[in-house]
């Protein structure tokens, strides 16, 4: 049986490779190996999820926006407000918060995606800034600049309390991330994801092929916002606190940084990037609270100049070189 190599290639990306279990094994091992770092661990997992949602938009959809924090923040405030005003059950609140963010994403995306380039960048940013101002001024509801306090999240399944060591929080976040990863992995390998990649490479041609470019992009925007909202809700539920910074330009910037460091459009860029960024922040900012940004900045510049694939791109490069040497022998 002879099939075209391109088809083989396409089909093989859908199959799970053994190496893809690595992040999950490591995350599970970390639970037992570093029980004192579980708090940090759940924050890393949340950033991974946030970066994963952004990868769908940036890496697969090719949409450059500086306002993805808007949907993270919307999810965080939705979950926070629900927990504060009596809806303590975490799972349903998580889903609802994701839907709130996703709905916001659909509405905002329907408007934003009509533009491109600088206007798109600015409109994306305007959404998050607008939400920032609203949250800042609606002090009665959101607590304003002091942040949202007084949340009470019920035990998970009525059983597992969110303990102070962060054990429940870590496992809860890990499982949600796993489900989101399955969803995104399925999506990007499905025809939908392939057409999204096509739109990124050549929108005019995809339009000519009869693909509704705007609608596909909007759906991607909605799903991405939904996942970002889930990440935000996880952050609210595990920290029992929401601050205004969830809508900040910094957070939108950080998620780009994480993704670029790890590698854009690779599904696993967020895993590597978030781990490196958060651990570096935790370790370096203790000694040099101001200066650790210098190293991140340097790393970003080096990534752009020499290695656009991010850290995962380095692995690719090494493994390819290794293979070539083997072939030569």
């Amino acid at each position: 049986m002879s099939t075209h190599p391109a088809i083989d290639d396409l089909l093989s990306t859908r199959r799970l490779r053994p190496v893809e279990s690595l992040p999950w094994l490591l995350a599970a091992a970390a639970y037992f190996l570093f029980p004192q770092y579980l708090q940090l661990g759940s924050q890393i997992l949340i950033m991974v999820l946030f970066a994963l949602s952004f990868d769908l938009l940036l890496g697969y959809g090719g949409i450059v926006t500086l306002g993805h924090a808007a949907y993270f923040g919307a999810g965080a405030y939705a979950a926070g407000l629900m927990a504060k005003y009596g809806w303590g059950e975490p799972l349903s609140a998580l889903m609802l918060s994701g839907l709130v963010a996703g709905l916001l994403g659909i509405v905002a995306g329907a408007v934003i995606l009509r533009t491109k380039g600088l206007a798109l960048l600015m409109l994306g940013m305007a959404v998050s800034l607008l939400l920032f101002e609203l949250a800042n001024h609606a002090v009665g509801i959101t607590g304003g600049a002091d942040g949202l306090q007084g949340m009470s999240v019920s035990p998970l399944f009525g059983h597992f309390d969110f303990d102070m060591f962060g054990r429940t929080a870590y496992l809860y976040t890990l499982v949600v991330l796993l489900l989101a990863w399955i969803l995104v992995r399925h999506l990007v390998n499905a025809p939908f994801g392939r057409s999204l990649a096509g739109i990124r490479q050549n929108p005019a041609r995809m339009q000519a092929l009869g693909v509704s470019v705007w609608l596909r992009r909007l759906v991607a925007f909605g799903i991405s916002s939904f996942l970002a909202g889930i990440a935000g809700a996880l952050s609210a539920q595990t920290n029992q606190f929401v601050s205004l910074s969830v809508f900040s330009l910094e957070l939108s910037g950080i998620v780009i940084v994480i993704l670029v460091l790890g590698g854009v459009g690779r599904l696993y860029g967020g895993f590597v990037g978030a781990l490196v960024y958060m651990v570096a922040q935790d370790a370096l900012s203790k000694d040099q609270p101001a200066f650790w940004l210098f190293w991140i900045g340097l790393l970003l510049i080096l990534t752009v100049l020499f290695n656009r694939g991010g850290l995962l791109g380095v692995f690719d490069l090494l493994s390819r070189r290794f293979k070539r040497r083997e072939d030569a022998q």
Binding site: V111, T115, V127, G253, L293, F294, G297
Partner: protein
Amino acid sequence: MDAVNILVSIAFSGAAYAMVLYMTSVGLSVTMGLLGVANLAHGAFAMTGGYFLVTFMDRFAWPFGLAVALSCVAVGLLSLVLERTLYSRVYNGTELDQVVLSMGLIFIATAIAHVTFGAQPVRVVLPEAVNGQLLLGGFSFPTYRIFLIAAGLCVFALLWVTIEKTLVGARIRAAVDNRAMAEACGLNSKKLFAAVFALGSVLAALGGSLGAEVLAIEPEYALKHLVYFLIVVAVGGLGSVKGPFFAALLLGIGDSACKILAPEFGGIFIYVALFILLLIRPNGLFGRV
């Protein structure tokens, strides 16, 4: 009388603020329009100008005028180095590359400023001549703000004449309109690009150092004011000298009006206005379609 007072003070402080915004952002508009580089780190050049000014005045006790001029020169040279080593490599890169590169520069600039000058804003000691109050038609204005407005108008006039009336300006306009055609006619785009980039950074440094009184020089400067710089550029339209001027005026006066008349709503009006405006005119008020 009270209402008049409020209106005058809105117009006046808004105009001074607008001129600082204009001087800092117009370079970004030209570099983005001409080079197609989304240089988010433009504010970092303005901040660097401010820090140079403070260093020159405090360490070396140079007079204000000289210190401003030299800090502009210093930033111009620095930007030339960065243009050759970093920016020129992403001229043909994707938007993401440019955003990431300039974000890296913002981080580095912020970290260096933090370590060298501390987290607190640094203070610029203004010379006596411009540090007082001026009485005009029954109103009293801070002299320095009048100086700022005059400086902004001068920059606008000079830039306008340069772009519209000189050969260099004609080259820049040609390259903005159609780069390939301009190059085919023998334009040395490499030199022109470097010159324009340096000019933009010098203007940023001028805005940053002169405007230190309005936008305080602190490590978070580049990120904190990035939004407003970008608004001026996006609303004014890329590659234009006139557009950012009016956009800055709109934003500066609108911002002070909001702050004085409806402080509880703060930036909400500004962002809503921005949103609607960019939807109707995605290329800005004066942008070419």
